[in-house]
């Protein structure tokens, strides 16, 4: 399980919504992990220019507004790659067979198109998209 991406989204919602800057300890408490894991993710988000340390107090601030910050930017920042891996390809097809010789590049091309589409979906969605979904859920809970 690699939950850096989902943890980063959680963390960024907290940073965006908090009235006073939140420390890595407070963030870790909400995410359900330890502060050093949060500091590691914070380091990746800082390196990508997404957050900065709040000046003069412990905590973080967003450098972009929630509707500018795409899920693609968050994904690339914490995963260190712009690749989404959808399907594995078998490793040892037989080069002596024409289908065996061409199957890997064929599937790499085909799966690559699907992966590129999934990435472009991540570019269409922002931190605000997540916060809107969450707000709807919170409103529904409150009106129950």
């Amino acid at each position: 399980m690699d939950t850096k991406f989902s943890s980063a989204i959680h963390m960024l919602i907290l940073i965006s919504e908090a009235e006073t800057p939140m420390s890595s300890e407070k963030i870790a408490e909400s995410v359900g992990t330890n502060p050093s894991y949060i500091r590691k993710i914070a380091g990746l988000l800082k390196k990508a220019g997404i957050i900065e340390s709040s000046q003069g107090r412990s905590g973080f601030a967003l450098n972009l507004s929630a509707d500018e910050l795409t899920l693609y930017q968050i994904f690339c920042a914490v995963e260190g790659t712009s690749d989404i891996h959808l399907f594995d390809i078998h490793r040892n097809p037989n080069d002596q067979c024409v289908v065996g010789r061409h199957i890997q590049p064929t599937l790499t091309e085909l799966f690559g198109e699907l992966e590129a589409k999934a990435l472009s979906e991540l570019k269409q969605k922002t931190l605000k998209t997540c916060m809107d979904i969450m707000r709807d859920r919170i409103n529904k809970e409150e009106t129950k």
Copy 2:
């Protein structure tokens, strides 16, 4: 690594293109695996109605034409699920925090939309899509 999907595509191209029915031994030789793995995949494809055993001889035949058979059908047949898993979600967010309480259903909904789009892409592509890409590559190789 789970390569049932890519192995199944390889196998179905062979079945579709072969002039005489191919046995699981012959298919395994091209895929680069053992015949029992091919028989296991063949069993899943048969159960889904995609292939049948050739009557009276050892080998398989397609029940659908290559441009009718979608990658979605192949994926569901061999993976036994119609779910694509794109991203993991952290397991222990804190219920005492409003963000922590809502993050899992929010991300499940959001990631679910992305996964549904990826599945719908698999429905747009057929075995013929793969064979066309491969044929282009073979033609390019031959004209080198």
